[in-house]
Amino acid sequence: MSRGRRAGRFVLSLGGVVVASFAMLHLIPGDPVRAALGPTAPREAVERRRAELGLDRPLLDQFLAYVGGVFRGDLGESFLSRRPAAEIVADRLPATVQLVVATMLLALAVAVPLGMWVAARTENGRGRRTDLAFTTTTGALSVIPEFLLAVGMVAVLGVTLGWLPVAGKDGAASFVMPVLALAAGPTALLARLVRVETLRELGSDYVRLARAKRLPTHRVYFRHLLPNTLTATLTTGGLLLCSLLGGSVVIEYVFQWPGLGGATVDAIVNKDYALAQAAVLVYGTVSLTVLLAVDVALGLLDPRSALRSRG
């Protein structure tokens, strides 16, 4: 894909996110302000609030005002706390990013060597026992939902054994359980992918030739094979990173992590629509940016895709 088309698609998708976050408020059946303030709120209060939010103006006006606000970094005001939503997001987002990035780094650091090692051990159907152990473990880890791991860890490591802090974000130790719980599934999936990719490349002619040149094994794997498995690993890694954003919501809830996920859950429970809108916007933008970054990185890393984009 050419650079221009990639940028165009990114901008288009961002537009989609903005429209979706705006539309969300208007898709809610009934009156969102009434829903937020509760059935007992006096009629005048609801009307006043509607006027404040501009909900009594024509739809197009509202939309333009909304888009203008987004460009100015004004994401509206929390229905509940009356604080600017942008401020809440800025408060909460860093903790989420730290959690997700730490998780991703751990997943990559474990999955890539593990997948390659297992592939080397099980090439052409040898090493049946390694194969079985790997498939079973990663299979189990990839189907156990993160919140169960989290709850289990809290119960065993945190409460029963008392080794690790069970909640909050306070120093390195507090990262251990949230990161492990969140990383288990993606690591398993990524390791499986790396293994499949490595096995495929092991069967290729250039690996045969590298072996015919009697290169040391580590050279065959790291210099010849690894760069060729990166494309698939990065693509999947990017998608996993996006899904980690989802998973982080539950992990933040269970560990009372002061991130955006917890704030979003609260916003939804309390029908704080403005904050929820801001959350849609932020999560959507972050996901899209991650995907774009992966795309760009792939273009830089893989000489073939660079050629394709030129041609």
């Binding site: 299979g139 015919a212 989802g246 919501v249 429970v269 996901s287 000489p303």
Partner: protein
């Protein structure tokens, strides 16, 4: 459904379904019985998993919640399937532009984290049970839509669909008549598989407080209520957590097995007992002082033996050809000579390079004295690395050169093979096919090899390039005295470049002869091969002689002469007794030697 994971999955699902049916009947009353004297208790003999804030038994509540949990997951899956399949089938009904737009939207939706999509859909649909079910349903739709689209696109390329379109059948009718019925099976399997994810997703939403509300309760809601108590009585959370795990994992495992069954891969060959193959006697020793000597080489994979007792030699500086159809074992022979037969292949017999067993040579000795060239030069060069460094590494790894001098040597070798030295900085895809093959040959020359094993080095190239690459090999041979083993299915290539030709059939060498004696070959197979090649004086109007029948697969080579079913000279002796290899030919009834037709040139 025979794998362990499938069986475990089925067992877990069975338990879940039984509980879903009987749970509310058996434990339903106990699950809602208030007991104000025993609220928020931990484990006791009366309440194994403790009680909740109403003194209700957690175990009973967990078991009774099975029905609602499974039922909601079922509803959510149904919503997801309807939305997803509709969205995924939409491009089939729209015109090409609409189709592209919808496909782009589907691909965009797939990238949204499922849980976030579910949360926001639940917000719009109104939190609570309905919101959660709709949310999970909506969130599972993009994945199913993409699957539907992929499957439909596959079927739409099929001949019968194209034929129907050609006959003027409308898009909608094609979709319902041809496309949907053909993708129904994998679709249904995938929908079943997503049941597990729906169950887990609903549990997650309820856990977050966005799902089922009291007085109703599902597993996620029980988790939500018990979570704050985990710091005091961790056991209260065990019931619902375990239940979610059992059901979620069970459904997922079954789903995955179903998906695998839908795309069943061919079963790999089992390790059956190795067939005891009589080794062909090859009394003819290689020339003394041979550079390469192969004796009784047998390669087997499980019970299949594609190379059976092959013996031959290559003298220093000699160019020997091996010719045979695909499946004759010639490529595996080449790999065995290079010591590169992949696991689980078993190699017996001996391969001596300069009189020493291949396995006793060090890496560096092998890497510098033996060069290999494979069929497809694009695949043989690492696409991710520049050409120069790929060549140079033989220098740094085996010859102890510095990076710079190795690169200089690489450039020199490239130029020697006719690749401009500046191309050392190119990536393989920037070179033409012929250039790539030259680069591969140059790579082999990095270590001053004594022998080049070239397996179909020109098959992937077009005719003129073919000749130039062969010329290059001949030139290297003439200039440096490098011996070569040239393997090809093309007898014209082999005979024009080699002094000696080995003809392989069904894993054995059936004839060995000087290439200028091919016209007077004695083995019926060699004769047939020669006859099937057009020469300058062949009458182009007449069809070329082809050999009727086919070479037997390595797994069912007959007991006697493998060529017997296709041989005009075959007798009953041929079908029972293996012809020994004597004076250059393995045949019971060889042709008479004809006077050599040396002047014939093809």
């Amino acid at each position: 459904m025979r794998t362990l994971s499938a069986r475990v999955g089925l067992a877990l699902v069975a338990v879940t379904l039984v509980l879903a049916v009987v749970g509310p009947w058996v434990w339903g009353e106990e699950a809602v019985r208030f007991d104000p004297l025993h609220t928020l208790e931990g484990h006791s003999s009366a309440h194994w998993l403790g009680t909740d804030d109403g003194g209700r038994d957690m175990l009973a509540r967990t078991l009774a919640a099975t029905r609602l949990s499974v039922w909601l997951a079922f509803l959510a899956t149904l919503i997801g399937a309807c939305l997803g399949v509709t969205l995924g089938a939409l491009p089939s009904v729209l015109g090409p532009r609409g189709a592209r737009a919808v496909t782009a939207v589907i691909n965009g939706l797939v990238a949204i984290p499922v849980l976030l999509l579910a949360m926001f859909a639940a917000l719009v649909a109104g939190t609570g049970t309905t919101g959660a079910v709709v949310g999970i349903g909506v969130a599972s739709a993009p994945g199913l839509a993409r699957l539907t689209r992929t499957l439909a696109a596959g079927v739409e390329g099929a001949d019968y669909v194209l034929a129907a379109r050609m006959l003027g059948t409308g898009r909608l009718r094609v979709l319902t008549r041809h496309v949907l019925p053909n993708i129904a099976e994998p679709l249904i399997l995938s929908v079943t598989a997503s049941l597990g994810y729906a169950l887990l997703g609903l549990a997650t939403l309820s856990l977050l407080g966005l799902g089922v509300r009291p007085p109703e309760y599902d597993w996620g809601r029980l988790l939500h209520d018990a979570l704050p108590r985990v710091y005091v009585d961790p056991e209260v959370i065990a019931g619902p957590a375990l239940a979610v795990a059992v059901a979620g994992i069970g459904f997922t495992l079954v789903g995955e097995s179903l998906a695998r069954a839908a795309a069943r891969a061919p079963v790999p060959p089992g390790d059956g007992e190795e067939a005891d193959v009589p080794l062909g006697r090859s009394p003819r020793p290689g020339p003394s002082g041979a550079l390469l000597e192969v004796r009784d080489l047998t390669v087997s994979f499980g019970g299949v033996t594609p190379v059976r007792g092959v013996s031959f030699g290559v003298a220093p500086g000699e160019v020997v050809g091996i010719v045979g159809e695909s499946g004759s074992g010639k490529s595996l022979t080449a790999l065995a000579v290079g010591g590169l037969v992949p696991y689980p292949g078993r190699v017996r017999g001996s391969v001596l390079l300069e009189g020493r067993p291949l396995l006793s040579l060090s890496r560096s000795e092998l890497g510098t004295r033996l060069a290999m060239v494979f069929q497809d030069p694009m695949a043989a060069l690492n696409p991710a690395l520049r050409v120069g460094p790929q060549l140079a590494e033989t220098g740094t790894v085996h010859l102890g050169l510095t990076r710079r001098s190795a690169l200089a040597r690489a450039v020199a070798r490239l130029e020697r093979t006719g690749v401009p030295g500046a191309r050392a900085r190119a990536h393989p895809h920037e070179l033409s096919g012929g250039m790539r093959q030259r680069a591969v040959i140059a790579m082999g020359l990095m270590g001053d090899p004594r022998l080049i094993v070239a397996d179909e080095p020109t098959t992937a190239l077009d005719a003129t390039v073919q000749r130039r690459v062969l010329d290059l090999l001949a030139e290297i041979n003439a200039a440096s005295g490098t011996a070569a083993l040239l393997i090809s299915h093309d007898i014209a290539v082999v005979s024009s470049r080699c002094s000696r030709v080995l003809v392989m059939y069904a894993g054995r060498i059936v004839e060995e002869l000087p290439s200028d004696a091919l016209r007077s070959a004695r083995h019926p197979y060699t004769r047939a091969l020669v006859a099937s090649v057009p020469t300058l004086d062949t009458d182009r109007a007449e069809p070329l002689a082809t050999i009727p029948g086919a070479q037997p697969a390595p797994s069912d080579v007959p007991a006697g002469c493998a060529f017997a079913p296709r041989c005009a000279r075959a007798t009953s002796l041929c079908t029972t007794a293996l012809p020994a290899f004597e004076s250059g030919v393995a045949c019971h009834h060889p042709h008479e030697e004809r006077p050599r037709a040396g002047e014939e040139e093809w």
